[in-house]
């Protein structure tokens, strides 16, 4: 089945306490060059039928109005899952 992937991240200017907690654990781990972590969400929408421009636009609307909250989050990417069209 075709699958549309929606990725949502907490706004860059906002504190991401969950990411901060993981970053703390990473620091304790040591021995790597990773200085920070932010945690977002990934939604996979299974599409009944073909992925048309209208379907993508509908996914965008859903992403903006329901899957994310514009006050605290940004939709950073909407894409069609590779290999899901075949």
């Amino acid at each position: 089945m075709p699958t549309i992937v929606v990725e949502v991240m907490p706004k860059a200017e906002l504190l991401d306490p969950a990411g901060k907690a993981v970053a703390g654990a990473l620091r304790r781990e040591g021995g790597h060059p990773f200085s920070d972590v932010r945690i977002g969400k990934r939604f996979e929408l299974t599409v009944d039928g073909e992925v048309t421009d209208a379907v993508l636009a509908h996914a965008r609307k859903l992403a903006d109005e329901m899957l994310s909250n514009a006050v605290i989050e940004d939709v950073v990417k909407i894409s069609v899952l590779e290999g899901s069209l075949t």
């Binding site: 906002l14 504190l15 306490p17 329901m66 909250n69």
Partner: protein
């Protein structure tokens, strides 16, 4: 006077809210999230808890439940609506109040008796308080950090829509120490702390005079009785 309390899957404080309504002298009416029926109530309380397991975002799925369409319509035509904790998050997700609530800045769940200052004593749910009155009611949440963009924040402050502010240490990183909001009309109020847990001597916060004697939360429910009677 009949006050509805909506139960969502994952609501925890719905029975406490109904009890608070009864102690205040009104008749509590249990409402169900899946119905499209407000059963003719005069006011609605959205209680605390973890509706839908806080999935998606706190309050986001509950805000799109069948009964919320009726609650939004009723609120827009002036019915008093109080959102407590998760209920506040539902009100924000339903766009009845602005801004958003995110995880506490320190990352921990907080549970304590919390001092508040009443910043707007002219709403349907706060008219029994004095403007600037300091009260104490329980606070218990993991995602109570209030945020809004600078423009929204300035409007909230300028228009007197901040209903409650935390006193003492800010418990969750809320901007401007905001604990609760009201809408322009003053019929919708949302706050993170729990008035329904401070309505009965023996079970409320400690006060200077006696342990667990705090009943500051009762005024929320007597206020709405007063404002509804005045409207009738």
């Amino acid at each position: 006077m009949r006050i509805g309390v909506v139960t969502f899957p994952g609501s925890l404080d719905d029975s406490d809210a109904r009890r608070a309504v009864r102690i205040a002298g009104a008749e509590p009416v249990a409402l169900w999230h899946g119905d499209h029926d407000l059963q003719g109530v005069d006011a609605v309380v959205l209680p605390g808890g973890f509706s839908y397991g806080d999935y998606l975002r706190c309050g986001a799925i509950a805000a799109r439940s069948p009964i919320m369409r009726d609650v939004v319509d009723a609120a827009n035509s002036g019915m008093p609506v109080l959102g407590i904790c998760n209920g506040f998050q539902v009100l924000v997700e339903a766009h009845l109040l602005p801004g958003g609530l995110i995880r506490n800045d320190h990352g921990d769940f907080v549970c304590r008796d919390q001092g508040l200052r009443v910043e707007n004593a002219s709403t349907a749910w706060t008219n029994g308080f004095q403007q600037g009155q300091e009260i104490t009611i329980p606070l218990k949440n993991g995602e109570g950090g209030f945020i809004a963009d600078a423009e929204t924040l300035a409007r909230l402050e300028g228009d007197g829509l901040v209903a409650f502010r935390y006193t003492g240490l800010n418990p969750n990183g809320s901007l401007n120490d905001i604990a609760g909001l009201t809408n322009e009309r003053g019929n919708v109020v949302g706050l993170m702390p729990h008035p329904e847990h401070a309505v009965e001597p023996g079970f409320g916060p400690d006060t200077a005079s006696a342990m667990r004697s705090g009943v500051d939360g009762l005024t929320f429910f007597t206020s709405v009785l007063q404002s509804t009677l005045a409207r009738a």
